[in-house]
Every structure is written in C-alpha cells, then in structure tokens.
Symmetry: C2
Subunit: 698 residues, 2 copies
C-alpha cells in the first residue's frame, strides 16, 4: 500500500507537494475496489484481514464465475449448474413463456434433466485467462499522432491482438481498456450456448417489493434462478464450481464478490461529472420516464400485454432508480466539492513538476472541451447512432445485419469494434436467436420513439423523409407488419447474402437501417474522434500522472469485465436507526402482512400454504460492505474458504453515489443468503434433488 | 486475311462444316472495321489498296489524334492547335458564355494568344502506347469460378495492371476489353488540362440545317472549332500534328479516320439485339422524347433560357435521331434474319465439334437468360443507378463526392472501376470544374425527372420518402436552392474531408445521394453479377470460338477508344438519285435560299455580307465509306500521306444501322472538307494568321 514510483520526481519541491497531496485519500483506502483478477491487492488483504490470497484460490473463483448477458453468475455444482439472479435470468425465462404458460409468473422447476428447458439466444462466458498487453498496445502510438490517429493505431493493434489470440486459442478474446487507457489487458473467454432453465421461483417472491423496494434495505427477495450449461447435449462437467457454505454467516465476516460490474466513474474528471450531471443524466431520466409511462400504459391493457412488457418495464424502472441515485450523488454539493478539490490537488502536483506539467498538464482542459463538444450533439447521437428513435428489437436486428454486411467488406482492424473477427460469432448468434417477438408491442414502442424523433429532431432530413407524410403510428405499423425479420431463417439468408442481399432488400426495416446509417455513422465518427479519442488520450495521461505519483494502488473503474471486490458482513445505521445485517423469512411474512399482501408485496400462493413448513429464522437476505455496481447482479459472494454464501442482487439506495466516490459507512451490497435459498428449495419447492446437488450430497 | 487457327479442329467432319460456315461473310469483308492501332489489317490494305501501313505512319497518326470528352480531335499545328467539331467543343464554348456574351451564337476568334480563352473543366487525352495484357488478365480466372467470381478476379488484376502502369509512367492507364472479353489491351494516355478556345464559327453555320438535317446528306456545315493546348502557360510544342492537304480530293481516294468511336454491337448475340430492340431502345427513346419536349418548353421561355438549354437539347435530339436510326436497323426484318442466320451457322459449327460444343456451346443461351434478367430491372437501374431520376449536374457532383469518399476506403481493386487509383485524378478534376451551373435550369430538369420517378417507380421506399409529402417541384427547389455544391471550394472541402465530411454533411444534395446509394448499388451489383459478368464470360467464349474458326480478322466492336478506320471518298445512290461525294459553298447558299434563310437554315450575317468574297466552288462537306459511329465526331480524316483532308462530323441516315451490320453501298461518313475550312477562315473570318498556322506558312 501507498507505494509510489520515485521515477520522474525531479525536485524536493515537488516531493513536498507530493506528500501534501498524498495525504488526500485518493489512494486505496478501506475496502474500495472492483479489482481485475491480476491486480488484486494481496498485501492489503494480508495486512488488514490476515488473509493470504493464493493464485489457486483466485483461479478457482475466477473459473467458477460466469458472465450472464451484461451481468453475473456462478457454477454451483460439478454438473454445470449455474446460479444467478431471477432478474438476470428473467429475459430467458420470459422467452420460454407463452400466454398459456407464463413461467415468469408461475416459476419453474425441472424435476428431471429432460424437463430442463433450452433457452434460445442465451450465451454464458467463463474467463479463462488474462494477459497483459499494455506495452504492445501503447507501442502503436507515435508522439506526432493526433488523438484520433492514435486511437486508430491502437484499435488496429487491438484488433490484431484479438484476432491472433482468437485464432490461437479458439476462445473469444477481447482487449479491455483500464484506467481510461493507462492499461490494456487481453481477456479470453470460453463461451457456452446450450443453456437450459432448471429452476425459477415465482416473480412475486423473486422481486418481492417490486420497484418501490428496489435499491432499498431491509429486503426479502428470493432473487435467484438456476440454469444448466450443456455441451454436446450433456450437462457440462466442471471441476471449478463453488461449494455451498455449511457454517453460519456472522457480522464482521470477510466476504468476496466475483462478478462483472458494468461501469463506475470514480476516475472521471470534474468536467466529465458535470456533463453527466447536467446533460446525460437529465436527458436519460426524462427519456426513461417517458418509456416507463408508456410501458405502464401498455401493461394496463391486460394480463397478456403485461406479461410481454413487464421485463422491459422492470429494466427501465431499475435504470431510473439507479440513475436517480447516481444523479443524487452528483447533485450533492459536498460530494462535488470533494471531487473538485481532489482534482485540483492532483493538477497542482502535476503543475509543480515541470516535466509532468509538460506531459500531462493540459489533459483536464482537453477533456473539458470534449464534454462541450459532446453536449452539442448528444441528442442526435442518442436518437440515431444509439437507436433511441427506433425502439424495437427489429431495428437492432436490421442494423446489425446491415452493419455486419458492411463491416465484413473492410479489413478487420478498420471495422467497428463490434464486428471484428474476434467478436463476430457472438453478433451472429444474437442475430439468429429464435426468441419470440411480439409485433403489437414492437409497434407500440416504435410508435412512441418515432414520435419522439419528430418532436426532438424535426428538421433532420431523415425525420422528414420518414415521417413527413405519415404519422408515427402509420410508419411504425408499416415497418413492423412489413418486415420479415421475425423469422431467424430470413436473418440467416441476409447473413449468407452479404451486402448484395442487404442492398437488394425490400424489407422495410432493412431499408430504415440503411436510411439512417450514414447520418448515424457521421455522429459516431464525431463522437469517436472529438470525444472518445480525446477522453482516452487525456485519460491515459491523467492515469500515468497518477501512477507516477501513487503507483497502481488506485483501483480502475469498472468496465463490465470480471472483477473481485471484498468487504465485511455488516449492518448500518440509517437516520439513527440500526439496520441489522440480515433479514429472515419471518421478516418476509411480516412485511407482506404490513402491505396487506398486495402487489408488489403479494406472496405466491405456495408461500402462504407452506409457511408452517418453513423455519422462519432462516436468513433470507443480508448486506456487506462489498464494493459493487450494476452488472454485479448474480455475482457469487464467497467466504475466506471460497464457499458460496450468497448471491448479490442489489445495493441499498446509499450505495448508488458510490459510482463516483467509494463509501462504506452506509453503502451496502445486498445478497440472497445461501441458507435462504436451500430453505425455500426444500420447504416450498420440494426440490430435494436440486438441494442435494447444491450441497454435494450424492 | 482469312487465316484461321487449325488448333482445336478435331475431325474432318467439323472441318467440312467450318468451310461451309466460312463462306458466310462474317469475317472482314470490304472496308469494315474500326481497328485498334495494334490490330490494323495491314495485309488487307496492302492487297486491296496497294497501301503499305508503316509503324511510323501509324504512330504519327495516333500521336496526332486527340480524345476530346467522349469524342475526337487532332493536332493541326506544331503549336498545340487542336481541331474538332463545333458540336464537340460546344459545351466548352457555352461555359465561356454569359447572357451578355454568347460565344455559341456569335462565334469567337482569338486574334492573339492573349485572347485565347481558358476552358474550365476541359481535358484532352493523347494515346501514348498500347500494351497487350490479355494473358495476364485471363490468367486470373480459374475454371471453378462463377462468372462473377471470375469478373472480380479479372477486375482485381486489371486494377493492379492500371495502378502499376500509372505509377510507372505517370500516364492515365486503363485496360480496354475487346471482343466482349476475348482480348485485353492496356492504353496509356497523356492528359492535358489547360485548354483554350481559339476559334469557333457561329452556331448557325456550324449546325446549319439543325436537327432536321442532322444525319442527312447532302450537307453544308462548318462544324469545326479550334482549341489550343497549353502547358506551363505556354502553347504545347508537338512534333506530331497533321499537315494540311494541298492537292484536291477526288472520288475513289483512299482516306483514313482516326478517332474514338463509342460503341457498336456487331458482335452482340441475337438475344442481345432483341433486348435492345424491345426493351432498351423503346424505353430510351420515350425518355429522350420527354426530355426533348421539356427542353423545348424551356427554350421557349426566352433567349437566355434557350442559350442555357440548347446544348443539352441538341445532345438529346442527336441521340434521338441516332437511336431511331439504330432501332430502325433492328426493326428491319431482313437485317435481323441475317443476324439470326449468321449466329445459327456459328452455333452449328461450334456444336459440330465436341470439344468446342463443350467449351462454348451454352454461351448463347446464357447470354439470352442474362437479357431476360436485365429486362426485369432495367427501369429502376436506369432511374437510380444511372441517375435518370435525378437529372441535374448537382446530383452527379454529389454522387461522385459520396462514392469517391466511400470507395477510397476500400482496397484499390475492390473499388468501383471509376474510382480506382489510375482514374481518380480525372474524377477529382471533374469535381472541381468551375463550369457555370444555372439553378433555374437545374430545378426545371430535376422537377421533371423526379416526376418521372414518381410515375414510374411509385412504390419504391426511396420514392415515397423523397416525394411522399411534397411535389416534385417543391423537392427539386429545396434540393437545388439548398445545396452548396455550386462552389468548387465547397466540393474541395468534401474531397479533403472524406467520408467523415460526407456522413456529417447537411447538404441536401449529398443527403439525396446518400439516400439512394444503397438501392442504387444493389441494382448495380445485380447488373454486374447477373448481366455484365454473364455477358463477358460468354462473350469471351463466343470470341474464342470465332478466333478458332476465323482468326482475328474480325474487327472488335467499338469501345470508345482510339481506332483507325478507312474507306474511299465516294458518292452514292439514294432512291435512284445520285448523291455527289462533295458539297460546295454554292450549295450552302442555294439551300439557305430554298429555306428562305429561316432557322435552322438561317445563315450568319457575316456569310450574307461576304458572299461575294467566297469562292463558291470550294467544297464544304464530303462523304466517304469510312466505318464510323458516334464518338468519331471531330476525328481527323487523312489521305495516304497522312495529311489532313477533313474532319468527320456525322454519318448519313443509312449509316445508323451499321451499328449492328457493316454496309458500304449507301452508308457514308460525312466530313467538313479541309478546303472549306480554309476558305471560310480566310474570307469570312479574316483569320489569316490562323490559316498560316494551319498551312505551315510562317
């Protein structure tokens, strides 16, 4: 801890300044950090917790961790059983449902292997290896390059690295950018495609308390689902899985969380935070609230409408709550003042050393200018390049078909990142998923987003062409009733036919994707050149300055890749009231009673009927000081022995501003307790075979 | 003559059939042929005319020949003076004119070098060298390739050859496909850009008789103009130029014509002729007649309108008359029966030899199928890919800017032909021409072509987007008043900005080009794959079969490249009436008198005033049996000594069907007589210095 490289320190004057600056708690303090597996702070853990992290321990936990969509999961048996949250598996479960058989509502338990249900389009990834490639990536840059030339040069070498590694290993290889460009690591994933549903509880207990209780604590959710990975039509045999904990969990216990936190912004500059606060978040919230109202309206049309729309609605509501929480952090003047002060001190330390001043001094101002530029086209960028104006899965399919065909014509390293050789297999699989599409719902969503396009960008030629003579509803209907992309075989034909098939297509959705492609690419180029490249170039400079001043004891921001974080099981005090570290089934029934068993606090029938069978003292949820963020949902939480003690499914409301500043007094991650899972499986769901598998009882 | 390769003849049976077939006059007979300079039939000329063609004679004529746009011209003095037709130079002359100074109407004579007027956007080419590259091109094909794979492979090697040669020589190098793919030659051109107007007569004498007399004979046109090539702001010094003939021209004289005939269809299969007869020509004629009516309407709005539109109108009227003539050939049942019979005999000769039958037997059927396919999308291909729906120079500029930016991103050999490295300089120059654009005229033309798009392809999504909510006139106005492409500097900015500038453009014309690009490219791909590649593949097979049976004594079809043709000065008999080989100034005044000196037979004032000064017996126009077609306009015609005797400017109406079958009894090329030029320059235009230069009198 606290090591720093003396290289580059030129004068005693700057040394003095440095010591002053080091007094500011920017370096790793307390249990902060979502750590890449190859940067885990072993010394800190040894010193503070007397815990020796071995490579074997790390490798086992890493290979037992699973990436599930944008979130997390873990192996929990030697037979390929994978545990995640219900809300992570929800999309897959819904795709197995119909109006007559709503597995989201009723839950599902496959009593035999034959009953395990294959999930279309689901793909699970396991991280096999991490390789340091920073020097190779940065060697592509030349001092005389502009930011975007340097970005192109890096992209070229990154594409080469990924392609070489993919060809050599057969794994999905991708380079991860850490510290805004300060480090580059190559991640190699094994990918599994045959994923089957084993168990899901009723949504009423998985998401007990619904949106009102989301991001709150105390909590009482059985937010789990179980899937099994198959290979060659047989359950996957794996030696790396997490053994279930047998001893009870106590306050103060050290626990670890292994998952894929999506993104944090702790290393963002002050101006980047201002951009989020004043431009990005207000727009995004306004937009999500409009979608929330729309989806609620759709759900109210009837139960089948609700069944179809609910997953999307929950996603939106979750985002609204999360972003509102992040935003509240940025609106907190003391938090912002702290950020500003920290940055000022860092900049002063840099300015005090002539060489550092020359190399890094202008980085903050350049990032500030990039924010102004971004603000000037944020709206069209969102509606066009990010597809906000075309809120239907059909547009995503069409655009990916169009762009895949276009990008495949280019040399690998010149392609848009998503369509590089190393990643193309995943894009193709996503294009061929037979997951159901509900046209009425798609028309409904698309109608409103086209209306928004007309309201927000009325003067755009593309808006006029598309909506000049027809209402948004007419256009949405024509597009969705006209497209043939529902059929995966049609999509396969486009994949086979390449650019020729795309250019000769009469499919209205393909035509739409072609119509908006040039303007979208223009905006993307603008973003990549004037924003992203500038942020990366100058972020890298700031990171180097920090490395020189403080070493790599500062954790990198989350990047949606596998990280290890840790903390202790611990309650907290909220408004003077002590919140205990765990809840029990007794608390669940108590809460349902308080809420008159009305949605979203309505218990499933089975819970009401089998209440007597339950041991009400068994813990259901618990909290710990684990550093986490969205994407960590479904992460396994383990004890010192690496045993499974629970699965992370939420953070309390106080944890949201930790996107920008770590905090451990009142910020908590929320887990489903391992014991609560076993109790429910045995007493409520009669799932003894599953429990035997989890507990390793043959 | 008559040589054939015995290779491949397997049986005496096929030999017998061959001899029967050879009796059919498919081989070179009489003076047929527009010959590439490296395939000139020297033996035939020696035998029939006792004329020995030397390489020196050929090289001098070739290097004295000039390509002027899509037509022809020649050097006529050692000081870079270039003579062509008035109607070839007309566009350049019009671009130098304004409402106040209409050089087309008044004519122009630069009495000093200082008065020579620089012509924006004019580019003259001189063919420096021809290289045989057939083996290299054909070696790219592999037997297992589909027609379009073979086409792509050939295109790749052609692009390489052109790029290599361009880099090595600094010339503009392009590979010419002869005999539908039977031969490939590399042509290397020197390009001149600083071209200045020296002399033009009044249009009334240049185009005396106008559209009614176009493609007729006897004729009385002073259809010439003179330009000078400059290099480094000095007149070009050239040793290769044509000396002016001094002895009179007599009936029976052997004459040669060196120019760039555009295209003939003598080697087309019967089904290709049917396609032209039943699909292409009827559509094209209907379309041109619509444009003719439109342009006439525009001209009637007033003199300034007429000045602006007349060049375009004349071009259209010329095309209508030419195509009507070609079409009349195809509508001639005896011509078509002859074509069919010739083809049947060739096919029978091929069928009779098992090896030839296997290699070449299916070629005709495959070409027939390609015609059916082409007919199925001929209309959208014309309106979109060929730009028929967007009849404005602005669209051409916008599309070339868009496509240049797109194609430059691709490896050279994958680009559309026009945008390969060897050709890109010409595209750029054409994009930067300051030639005037008249917005009112552009709106007028674009309005009608957009109307046509709506009438002909109403269901196309692009039509609906563009014209769904607005009238064609409104859209045309918005596009033309909105675009900034009139300014060559703006075009330069797009050239510099590349794809990024294109995608980020708000220019409505760029937007339009982007809008219709995907569908246009789709149609082009369909054409290239299903029509062109099939025609070339099977045309090559037919050419090989013909080479085997008859050697290369058959002239290749015209391809817009430099060719040598020959014939004799000769009158003819039309409807029993003898037409003398030449006309005189006396005939000119006689004709004007018959027509009461009314347009288009109105003589310029100067001719009326100076009639007495003229020697009325001096010949003005003459005819010869020279094989020619559109593109030959402006070709120098020379005698055995290589002396300039006249410039080709037309063919008689009977010459038009020779596009498909050569004929020399009544088909004639029409020339301006060398003597008539001198007489007018001296007596009418007081251009003694110019005459001195032409006649080599210091």
């Amino acid at each position: 801890m606290g090591k720093f490289h003396s290289k580059g320190l030129k004068s005693s004057f700057s040394l003095i300044l440095l010591f002053i600056w080091l007094a500011i708690p920017l370096a790793l303090s307390a249990d902060e950090g979502m750590w890449p597996y190859n940067l885990v702070p072993k010394d800190y853990l040894a010193k503070k917790y007397n815990f020796k992290v071995t490579d074997e321990w790390l490798d086992h936990l890493r290979l037992s961790s699973v990436r599930f969509g944008g979130a997390s999961a873990s192996f929990v048996s030697p037979e390929g059983l994978v545990l995640t949250n219900h809300h992570v598996g929800r999309g897959a479960i819904q795709n197995l449902s119909t109006a007559d058989r709503d597995l989201v509502k009723t839950g599902y338990y496959a009593r035999t292997r034959q009953e395990e249900l294959k999930c279309p389009g689901v793909e699970l990834w396991v991280l096999q290896e991490i390789e340091e490639v920073t020097d190779r990536v940065l060697s592509a840059e030349k001092p005389e390059m502009s930011p975007q030339e340097a970005a192109a040069a890096r992209q070229k070498v990154i594409a080469e690295i990924e392609k070489e590694a993919t060809e050599k290993s057969g794994l999905r290889c991708s380079v991860v950018t850490l510290y805004s460009g300060g480090m580059y690591h190559l991640y190699k994933y094994k990918i599994y495609n045959d994923i089957r549903l084993v168990f899901a509880p009723e949504e009423d207990i998985a998401f007990f308390g619904g949106d009102p209780d989301n991001f709150t604590y105390p909590r009482y959710d059985l937010d789990i689902s179980l899937f099994r990975i198959y290979e060659n039509d047989q359950p996957l045999k794996t030696q790396h899985y997490l053994k279930w904990k047998t001893s009870p969990l106590r306050e103060g216990d050290l626990v670890f969380c292994s998952g894929n936190p999506g993104s944090t912004g702790r290393l963002l500059t002050y101006d980047q935070l201002i951009f989020l606060r004043d431009v990005n978040y207000p727009f995004t919230l306004k937009n999500y609230k409009r979608r929330q109202a729309l989806l609620r309206e759709y759900c109210q049309k009837g139960p089948e409408y609700e069944r179809i729309a609910l997953n999307t609605l929950f996603g939106i509501e979750n985002s609204i709550k999360a972003i509102t929480g992040y935003h509240s952090g940025l609106l907190d003047k003391s938090l912002m003042a702290k950020k500003q002060q920290e940055e000022q001190q860092l900049r002063q330390a840099v300015a005090a050393d002539p060489e550092m001043a020359k190399d890094y001094g202008s980085a903050w101002e350049e990032i500030a200018r990039a924010q102004e530029e971004y603000a000037s086209f944020f709206k069209p960028y969102y509606f066009l390049e990010r597809g906000g104006a075309f809120n239907t899965v059909y547009f995503n399919l069409a655009r990916n078909l169009v762009r895949l065909a276009m990008e495949k014509e280019k040399p690998n390293e010149q392609r848009l990142t998503q369509f590089r050789e190393a990643r193309i297999a995943s894009v193709k699989r996503s294009l061929l998923t037979p997951a159901p599409i509900h046209d009425d719902f798609e028309i409904f969503k698309l109608t409103d987003s086209l209306k928004q396009l007309k309201e927000e960008l009325p003067d755009l030629p593309e808006t006029k062409w598309l909506l000049g003579s027809k209402s948004a509803e007419e256009v949405a209907k024509e597009l969705i009733t006209g497209t043939k992309l529902k059929d995966p075989e049609v999509r396969q034909q486009y994949l086979d036919g390449g650019l020729e098939a795309i250019y000769q297509s009469n499919d209205p959705m393909i035509k739409l994707a072609l119509l908006v492609d040039p303007v979208s690419r223009g905006l993307r180029m603008r973003y990549e050149k004037n924003v992203e490249a500038v942020e990366v170039k100058n972020g890298t400079l700031i990171a180097r300055a920090m490395f020189k001043l403080k070493g790599t004891s500062i954790p990198p921001d989350a990047t949606g890749t596998l990280r290890l974080s840790f903390g202790v099981v611990k309650g907290y005090v909220e408004n003077g009231k002590k919140i205990p570290f765990q809840t029990t089934y007794a608390g669940l029934f108590q809460k349902a009673k308080e809420k008159n068993n009305q949605p979203p606090w309505k218990l499933p029938e089975r819970f009401l009927q089998r209440r007597a069978a339950l041991n009400l003292n068994v813990p259901l949820n618990f909290v710990a000081t684990i550093d986490s963020i969205g994407g960590n949902s479904g992460s396994p939480v383990v004890n010192r022995k690496g045993e499974f003690v629970g699965t992370l499914f939420d953070g309390n409301i106080q944890s949201l501003p930790t996107r920008f500043v770590y905090e451990e007094t009142i910020s908590r991650s929320v887990m489903v307790h391992a014991d609560g899972i076993i109790e429910a499986l045995l007493k409520i769901y009669d799932a003894k075979p599953l429990v035997d598998e989890l507990l390793g009882r043959k």
